[in-house]
Symmetry: C2
């Protein structure tokens, strides 16, 4: 099926585009009433993730409503550790948890990468189903958490505000943490390649917690494994390059290093000016970002002003995919998202 809108894929490869493409992290989410309706029908979040027709439905909702330039697979970042047998569950109002956090040496030594076409078949079924439903309107992004970010949840047993257990392991038993990261990096590589095989046209690695590390530990425990995954990715599918995006939240200080990891594009949170980021990474990678997600809590005028500020900070020339600097909040008015998409699509740099 011919891809009707490839502006997103071209921007990721730093090719010229008629306008700046835009999609939003967590664009299929609770701020949308149609999402909440499907979610209610599913009963619980994991059923929504594990039922391909429902995952397809919510993936397409923001595409239908806003005319975004890319769809992203609706799934959870913890599907991989779940498939490794840690027992993912969601306690109401508490975020994700694992029944069997990974802390003792025997369990860590026994950890094995799952076969994504078996244990994660429901994800591949969702990818195929979404591709069919999209009918070539926009490309589909596959994704995974980074090994370090997944390890945070695996070792802590859920979310954390101090990452005490994983950091204790990092400083006391780095060998055990490396073992977890090694297995997880292989699992993520297989998982992303299976998504590409099933139809994902770009892939993104979310490193949500790498930014909590020192510069030295970030390189050793997060970026090195991301680079290993990127090196193992399928480069082409359906006769086209499959671009990769790496996003470390809070990684603005390390952009030069991240830009060397082999990915085509680097996601940037809202604490960095995109102009400065661009000067620092040069023409090595495209940049994706970076509106403060909270700007969408402002009025329409603030949304327009802040969106233009991001576009102008990046400046003219190829290689910008507009996005938020982090996932969209459930408290956002969908009308503000419409204003945002319209503003980005209508914007032209002086001289363009």
């Amino acid at each position: 099926m011919t891809l009707q809108n490839d502006v997103f894929l071209r921007a990721l490869l730093r090719e010229p585009t008629p306008y700046t493409p835009v999609w939003l992290m967590r664009q299929a989410g609770r701020y949308l009433p149609e999402y909440r309706a499907t979610r209610a029908r599913a009963g619980d979040f994991l059923t929504l993730c594990k039922t391909p027709e429902l995952a397809t439905e919510v993936t397409l909702q923001p595409i239908d409503r806003f005319g975004l330039d890319a769809a992203i697979l609706f799934s959870d970042i913890l599907t991989v550790p779940d498939a490794m047998g840690l027992g993912l569950y969601f306690a109401e109002g508490e975020g994700p948890k694992f029944q069997r956090p990974l802390r003792d040496e025997a369990a860590i030594q026994a950890l094995a990468a799952p076969d994504p076409t078996v244990e994660l078949r429901y994800v591949m079924d969702a990818v195929r189903s979404i591709r069919r439903a999209l009918g070539g309107r926009v490309p589909l992004i596959g994704f995974s958490g980074s090994p370090f970010t997944l390890a945070c949840y695996m070792v802590e047993g859920g979310g954390s505000d101090d990452f005490r257990h994983i950091k204790t392991m990092l400083y006391r038993r780095p060998d055990l943490l490396h073992r977890i990261l090694d297995v997880t990096a292989r699992a993520v590589t297989d998982y992303l390649n299976a998504q590409i095989e099933a139809g994902a046209q770009a892939v993104m690695i979310f490193d949500t917690w790498g930014g909590t590390l020192t510069p030295h530990a970030y390189r050793e425990f997060s970026l090195a494994y991301i680079a290993r995954i990127v090196a193992g990715l399928t480069r082409e599918a359906e006769g086209r390059r499959v671009p990769s995006i790496v996003f470390t939240k809070g990684g603005g200080l390390w952009l030069e290093a991240i830009a060397e990891c082999g990915a085509d594009a680097v996601g940037v949170d809202w604490t960095v000016s995109l102009g400065e980021a661009r000067r620092r990474v040069g023409d090595r990678v495209a940049l994706q970002g970076n509106l403060d997600p909270a700007a969408l809590l402002g009025d329409a005028e603030a949304v327009r002003r802040e969106a233009v500020r991001v576009l102008e900070a990046f400046g003219p020339g190829p290689g910008h995919v507009f996005n938020l600097g982090h996932g969209i909040s459930q408290h956002v008015d969908p009308d503000n998202v419409a204003v945002l998409v319209e503003t980005v699509h209508a914007f032209r740099h002086r001289g363009d």
Copy 2:
């Protein structure tokens, strides 16, 4: 009373010192059994803060135990908004809360700076009491939260993980936020000057939440008010300069701008290499930091290795105050703090 150890004050002014001085954010805290004993006697946290003899006791505990190079006033950063009438309380296991969060326009217009010698007299009494108890062993640091950080708690009504209310105000009614920040900046200036008058020999401004802003909003809503406070500080007391330290957690990307705010020293969290930080700020300011607080969860060997990494990253020459990149965790073994202090005090740069 003669100050017997002024290494900390001299390092803040980038004067040569025989060794690198060290103190730790939240050094009087729950990781110390003697602190927990005093805290239990006080009954609750606010009573501990508001009773000068108890505040004195806990302030001196880490000095007695570890031989640190500075003491810091034991208090809470929310004393100022409490004195403004917002009604600070601590719900067990939930962190600080305000009975009257600041959200409606009338309350914001009515906000007034308290007289620190009246409404915050208990703090000044604690400063005087601590100075007497220290007897000139080491200098005493006074402190306050930054206006933006205080405003976060005032508008949210407590801690937050998304800062939704204050960011909504920032993007919808920046005039109201500026009004809060303006009053709070005046209150903080008066508060710090009263602490200096009572005996504080250096002052530190904690900007815990400025790092959640965009670069543009950081300058407008946080740094501008910090600079205004620094400009209004008493420069000298007891015939000696009173150095000021500004610490924005997550502000590593903006160090050049922070170094221009007028402060003598800039606190740095653990996500920046101190060597890189030093190259960026040049000789404008001293630097304070920046061990990953979680390194103290490691074994003694890891504590030594990571401390030396920080010392070597800064390199030889004046202007380094060793500290953590954020407050010490309650889960730290005090023996590790002893190892840390010993390592820092024994360290000499090659050629020194």
